[in-house]
């Protein structure tokens, strides 16, 4: 999706402002919001990629004007309603009014340590890798209206395969409720001038982690 979330290389957002001695959460609701989102993922309400797509689906003005955990809260509201897990009437009332849906899993206190390690997205390869280290590749000029992990600034650009990272769940598929469709994942390195033109820093190289369907051999 060519959304506002795809920020790499944009101008005008100003300086980075680090905060001295930043707390883990700036308010208690941020922690509750993080944990609620993680818990819903852990019981199988949606995949990590469907969750990311849920953030990207927020209108651009809302995306830019909401805090990080504010976006997570809006996404959670939207997704529980869209999936019939809770009604908008229930969220407005602040109490359950209807029967719950049956979920795949439960999350108890005993399961919490499991949620503190990221899920594993590596999968058995279904076919040999198409590219090898050192190959010159061109990223495809794709603009799906749905979730993708190929950022705009790196589309239609020539780079080099620096590393092969194994075969992974393909976000473009799982984000829209499709199969895991495992794909080879590569670190692809680009010169900054290839990405940003002749005025770019000549000492800079940038890499993305690119799934095989994003790539074709360089001409």
């Amino acid at each position: 999706m060519d959304g506002i979330h795809d920020m790499g290389g944009m101008h005008g957002f100003g300086k980075v402002e680090p905060e001295e001695n930043e707390p883990v959460f700036h308010a208690a609701w941020e922690g509750r919001c993080l944990a609620l989102n993680r818990a819903m993922g852990a019981i199988g309400a949606w995949t990590i990629d469907e969750g990311r797509a849920g953030i990207e689906a927020l209108p651009p003005d809302v995306y830019l004007s909401s805090s990080y955990y504010g976006k997570w809260a809006l996404r959670l509201e939207n997704m529980v309603v869209a999936r019939g897990l809770a009604g908008a009437d229930e969220l407005a009332a602040g109490h359950a009014l209807h029967a719950a849906k049956q979920m795949k899993r439960k999350l108890t206190v005993a399961d919490v340590p499991r949620t503190l390690t990221r899920g594993s997205f590596g999968r058995e390869a279904l076919a040999p890798a198409r590219f090898k280290t050192g190959d010159r590749v061109r990223t495809k000029n794709i603009h799906p209206a749905t979730h993708t992990r190929l950022p705009r600034y790196a589309r239609g650009r020539i780079g080099e395969i620096e590393a092969i990272r194994g075969c992974h769940v393909f976000p473009d598929s799982t984000a829209i409720g499709g199969d895991e469709d495992p794909q080879w994942l590569y670190t692809v390195r680009f010169g900054a001038r290839e990405l940003f033109g002749d005025s770019a820093d000549p000492t800079l190289t940038v890499s993305i982690e690119a799934f095989e369907p994003y790539l074709e051999p360089a001409p």
Binding site: H5, M7, G8, M10, H11, F13, V16, E17, P18, V24, F25, A27, W29, G31, R32, L34, A35, L36, A39, M40, I43, R52, S67, Y68, Y69, A73, E77, V80, A86, L91, G94, H95, L107, T108, V109, V112, P113, T115, L116, T117, R118, G119, S120, F121, G122, P151, R165, G166, P171, T187, A192, A200, D201, L204, T205, V206, S207, E209, A210, F211
Partner: protein
Amino acid sequence: MAHDHEHDDDHHQHGSELSEMQLRVRALETVLAEKGYIDPAALDAMIEAHETKIGPHIGAHIVAKAWTDPAFKRALIEDATKAAQSLGLINRVGDHLIAVENTPKLHNMIVCTLCSCYPWEVLGLPPVWYKSAPYRSRAVNDPRGVLADFGVTLPAETQIRVWDSTAETRFLVLPMRPAGTEGWGEEKLAALVTRDSMIGTSLPKSPGEVA
């Protein structure tokens, strides 16, 4: 419950937008708990782990070990998930952690331009700036400008490498060991390793800063 009390504290300390978020998140939690999807006690445990157990001290321990143990450093570069796990950390480290080494010629910086991917098992939750539009937009085309925002200037000839975390691989910068730390033990060295130095937006502290 303890967190209800904290919600009320927020109400007194912050403005109306925060109060609204507080109420919305509380409504979400109440509804999802009443429907049996989530257990508030599990949320408490997750929050407590983030506030007390998981943080950049874990990454600092890994870096300090790499600075003092060449075999561990080799293992870390080879397979950071496995090497970090061998230290007996509190939580298992997820797959595909990748350590990237700074050298006198090369400086590494980590970003997630699309969202907020971050090696949180070893660094904790990302700071607000890491998730902000200024960082996500500029890291890939103006990393020297970003470094300047952190008060860091690198030599003009230093090569800069920015890693955009666009998949489930996660990156940890292995910064250079500061000069003047010869003979230091791991624990003392770990105190020099800042969170930002492991993201690549800053450098480790110098020995004089922790004296």
